[in-house]
């Protein structure tokens, strides 16, 4: 992809991420946990990680987090999201580098990591180690939402590849 095409593609991805962020804020169910989210934008980030590389994916993710929190959140939610978003993207990138791990594993690990980092940041910000007790259940929850997003990424990746949109030929993360 040339530079202009890539800029347009990433811009579209960012817009789609923002829509997905908004969409999931509309979901009426929270499974009894305040602030519960599926992490829908994550499946796009995963797709970008595997097709456009780490730099593109993390820039889109950071921009998404900044914009979403400026529009709908506050400084505290920005700190949570930024720390969790950056670290889980790093972890997903590292896992995708392994040939034996695909979208599913990377996404599941990313989801779990995202939730654990959020709890850890909350524990640090509120200087309260008792919050860390929430780690195991939130980890499992992140695992399930992560698997869900991983399946979405996989399905999208296959369709995009057939259409020849946005996927590199000879992509080494191809499943």
């Amino acid at each position: 992809m040339n530079r202009a095409k890539k800029a347009a593609y990433l811009g579209l991805s960012l817009a789609l991420c923002l829509i997905l962020s908004y969409l999931e804020s509309l979901l009426p169910f929270q499974f009894g946990i305040v602030g519960f989210r599926i992490g829908l934008p994550n499946f796009l980030i995963l797709l970008l990680l595997s097709t456009q590389g780490f730099g593109s994916a993390i820039s889109v993710n950071i921009l998404r987090i900044l914009i979403v929190n400026l529009l709908f959140g506050n400084i505290i939610s920005l700190a949570f999201s930024l720390a969790a978003g950056v670290l889980s993207t790093l972890l997903m990138f590292a896992l995708l580098k392994l040939r034996s791990v695909g979208f599913l594993g990377a996404s599941a690990a990313g989801g779990a990591c995202h939730n654990v980092v959020q709890v850890a940041v909350a524990a640090i910000l509120f200087k309260n180690t008792a919050l860390l007790k929430l780690c195991p259940p939130l980890m499992l929850l992140g695992l399930f939402t992560g698997i869900f997003c991983g399946i979405l990424s996989y399905l999208c990746h296959n369709r995009l590849e057939k259409l020849g949109i946005g996927t590199k030929a000879g992509n080494r993360n191809k499943i």
Partner: protein, 111 residues
């Protein structure tokens, strides 16, 4: 769709979560007092041996801590998720119930 590494990663995380979940059960000793903190400030410390109810009101809502038969638990919380009530009865050292919306934490201590 599923690769070998995926299953390995997923089971590793599930195992880790299960271990973290079970860890507190391996080192249980009966608690003596329950410490309640609201917004990081100590609200009060109560003996688990005396049955009583403590009304807690914060800027974000109200809840009640019930101490009965050596265990403490939250009841009638005005928070939307009621997670603090679902954490059940606290009786051993280190048992904790957290109410995020009310920024209220009850923790059992050994002193």
């Amino acid at each position: 769709m599923v690769k070998k590494g995926d299953i390995a990663v997923i089971s590793a995380i599930a195992f880790l979560a299960a271990m973290l979940f079970l860890l507190p059960f391996f080192r249980k000793s009966p608690g003596k007092t329950v410490k309640v903190t609201v917004n990081n400030k100590v609200f009060g410390t109560y003996s688990l041996n005396d049955d009583r109810t403590v009304k807690i009101s914060t800027e974000n809502g109200r809840t009640t801590l019930v101490i009965k038969n050596g265990a403490a638990y939250f009841e009638g919380s005005t928070c939307p998720d009621k997670l603090c009530e679902k954490m059940g009865k606290l009786s051993s050292v280190g048992d904790t119930a957290v109410c995020l919306p009310l920024k209220t934490v009850a923790e059992v201590t050994g002193q």
